[in-house]
């Protein structure tokens, strides 16, 4: 059964408005400052440069976390611990990047631990913390906000204790490549983000995991009676989120070549949640959109970049961000979407034909 192209539901969908918002913001920027869209290639470094590249680059951490957050929100919950996990990940990685001080008195391109451990250990720990969250929620029946609040509070403490309160630095090149290197002329974080998004998309849509998440999010008890193992699904979703927070933490600490347990991941949970919601996934659970989340994250980053670009005082960024997000949210709200949709329908009826009964 083929369906005619349903303009009504497109206009009524949240992701449509998210895309509109992003496009509008970009166009406005281009008009006001014509160099906005310019991308240039510098053969010395073999990289592309430009504001758009910048936006894609800096949004990496949030986008990656938001992929996992999308699943968690689709299940009807939230994960507030992601920021703390970013800090833990960075702290662990830097701790493993120690070197033998007797041999080399200053930081440089050497390390004791094999490099794969430097990467794997933080990821494993973060995944385990995600599992902790998942178990509290699935087995003990705790509310997600509260369950993840525990790690949000305790996690940063754990990160600090890992490095004994000190800020470690490193000069180890393979590690620095993660946040500062490039591949195929694009900054590494963009490549990593693309890979992550692709993997999550394939996993959720090429297997039935996505549908199961949506099902459990809409109606957990019906899902259980239908044979779904909601415990397993919840656990996996939170473990994925933990793992992705770990990746994000590696990127962040690699960018600054050190670990900053106080500031790493600050506000990441809020930004990730915002990205998911702007992208059209409802906080009460159910249908989700990974593409929407990516756009949501880009919108947030575009606003921030824009504000810098226009020389607006950096202090005002948060206020600006808030205003624009407020506008997007209002546009996405039900009454407003319905108003637009019904205007279209009345318009269509006037021209002699209902778009949809």
């Amino acid at each position: 059964m083929k369906r005619k192209f349903d303009w009504d539901s497109v206009v009524r969908s949240k992701i449509f408005w998210a895309v509109v918002a992003e496009v509008v913001i970009l166009l406005v920027s281009e008009i006001l400052k014509p160099d906005f869209f310019r991308i240039e290639y510098k053969p010395e470094t073999g990289m592309l440069y430009g504001v758009l590249i910048d936006i894609l680059n800096r949004s990496a951490e949030i986008t990656i976390i938001a992929m996992g957050m999308t699943l968690v929100i689709a299940l009807g919950g939230t994960d507030l611990s992601v920021g703390a996990l970013v800090a833990v990940s960075g702290a662990m990685a830097l701790k493993f990047l120690r070197w033998d001080v007797t041999q080399y008195p200053t930081p440089g391109d050497y390390t004791i631990m094999p490099f794969y451990l430097v990467i794997l250990a933080p990821l494993a720990v973060c995944t385990l913390m995600g599992a902790f969250n998942g178990l509290l929620i699935a087995k003990l029946g705790m509310q997600p906000i509260i369950a993840t609040l525990i790690l949000m509070v305790a996690g940063r403490g754990i990160a600090q204790i890992t490095t004994n309160g000190k800020q470690f630095t490193t000069m180890y090149t393979p590690f620095q490549v993660i946040g500062q290197g490039h591949l195929l002329a694009l900054p590494m974080p963009i490549i990593i983000t693309a890979v992550v998004v692709l993997c999550v998309a394939l996993f959720t849509r090429k297997t039935s995991f996505g549908m199961f998440v949506e099902s459990v999010g809409v109606n957990p008890s019906a899902s259980r009676v239908s044979g779904l193992q909601s415990d397993k699904i919840i656990l996996i979703a939170f473990m994925i989120t933990g793992f992705l927070s770990g990746i994000s933490g590696l990127i962040y600490s690699s960018r600054i070549s050190s670990c900053d347990s106080n500031n790493a991941g600050i506000n990441n949970e809020m930004n990730a949640i915002l990205a998911v919601v702007i992208g059209g996934t409802s906080m009460s659970g159910g249908k989700f959109s990974l593409a929407g989340t990516v756009i949501g994250s880009l919108i947030i980053q575009t606003i921030v970049t824009l504000v810098y670009f226009f020389g607006v005082v950096s202090e005002a960024i948060m206020a600006f961000e808030a205003m624009i997000i407020a506008v997007v949210i209002v546009l996405q709200s039900e009454p407003v979407r319905k108003a637009f949709a019904s205007r279209r329908r009345r318009g269509a009826a006037a021209t002699g034909g209902a778009v949809r009964a």
């Binding site: 939230t78 507030l80 509290l136 003990l140 029946g141 705790m142 509310q143 906000i145 509260i146 369950a147 609040l149 525990i150 790690l151 949000m152 509070v153 305790a154 996690g155 940063r156 403490g157 754990i158 600090q160 204790i161 309160g165 809020m270 949640i273 915002l274 919601v277 906080m283 009460s284 005082v313 202090e315 005002a316 960024i317 948060m318 206020a319 600006f320 961000e321 808030a322 205003m323 997000i325 407020a326 949210i329 209002v330 709200s333 039900e334 009454p335 407003v336």
Partner: protein
Amino acid sequence: MRFVLNADVKRQSLGVRIFNPKYIMVYATLGVFFVIYLFGAIMYGDRGFTSLRTILLMFSDNAYVGVSAVGMTMVLITGGIDLSVAAVASLTGMFIAYGTTKLGIDPLWCMLFSLAVGTGLGLVMGAAIHYLNVPPFITTLTGMFLARGVCSLISRESISIDNPTIDALAGWKWILTYYKDGQWVKIKPMAYINLSVIVFIAMILIGMYVLQRTRFGRNVYAIGGSEQSAKLMGLPVGRTKIAVYAINGFCSALAGIVYVLYVKSGWNLALSGGELDVISSAVIGGVMLTGGVGYMLGTMFGVMLKATIPSLITFEGSLSSWWGKIATGALLLLFIVIQRAVVTYTDRKKAA
């Protein structure tokens, strides 16, 4: 002819009335509080942990959390949430700091202005939540960003306050004395009640009164129990919801004022993460995030319970404050497990 269904009639003994499952959460909070307090008393009693001074200082140091928690309790009971409270408190501090030091405005006017702004923001957020159906989490998150943003706009650096009115208000103490040998003698170590404590206690009492003895307060519970039913029963759901957020805005600003008296400065990063402190205090106090359940007195004990941990750590002296964070996390975990156990137990009893 009368139907008297034996299954439905229950004789109400005193025991049943006291052990009403509604109050169990508050008892649990009290219980854990006393256990931890006892632990502190045993370990550090000789260092002054159990002195009246310490207790009153705990009230005073955490008054700002308590004042904010009063408004937050109401919001949570309606089934909503407000993430902007700490940002508004911080903004209030900035208004007062900037207004008095840089603009030379009388601090009392600054305080009034802050209260108005806090209440106004609450009104706007409440309206967005009710009329536009935007989830409270998102709406108040945006409000938080806005408040922090404006705060940063006013000043990037911290501003100290050096103002006689503020000093007077902050320094006002009522030193407690007792009658001994025909004279009033000061308690040793010196125990005093300051303005913050009075505001804290007053707000708790007012909150208790509103929730238990006014129609508005009962409507708050009704909305938390089932908003749809409340609407169909003809209750003023919209007005109540919006009012609750406005009241919480007021409480946030008031908390900011209390905090300013405490630290005598304004800083845009003040109280970072404070909103979750307030929310977790309320949850520890027995307020359920799903709405419909919660008592003001429970919240007060929740605040005190959460405050005992940093206090214990200070007394211990040697532990870094990172352990404090971990301990708070563990306490929260313990507490929620108790909550779950109580809920499951009462559910099972009901079904039987």
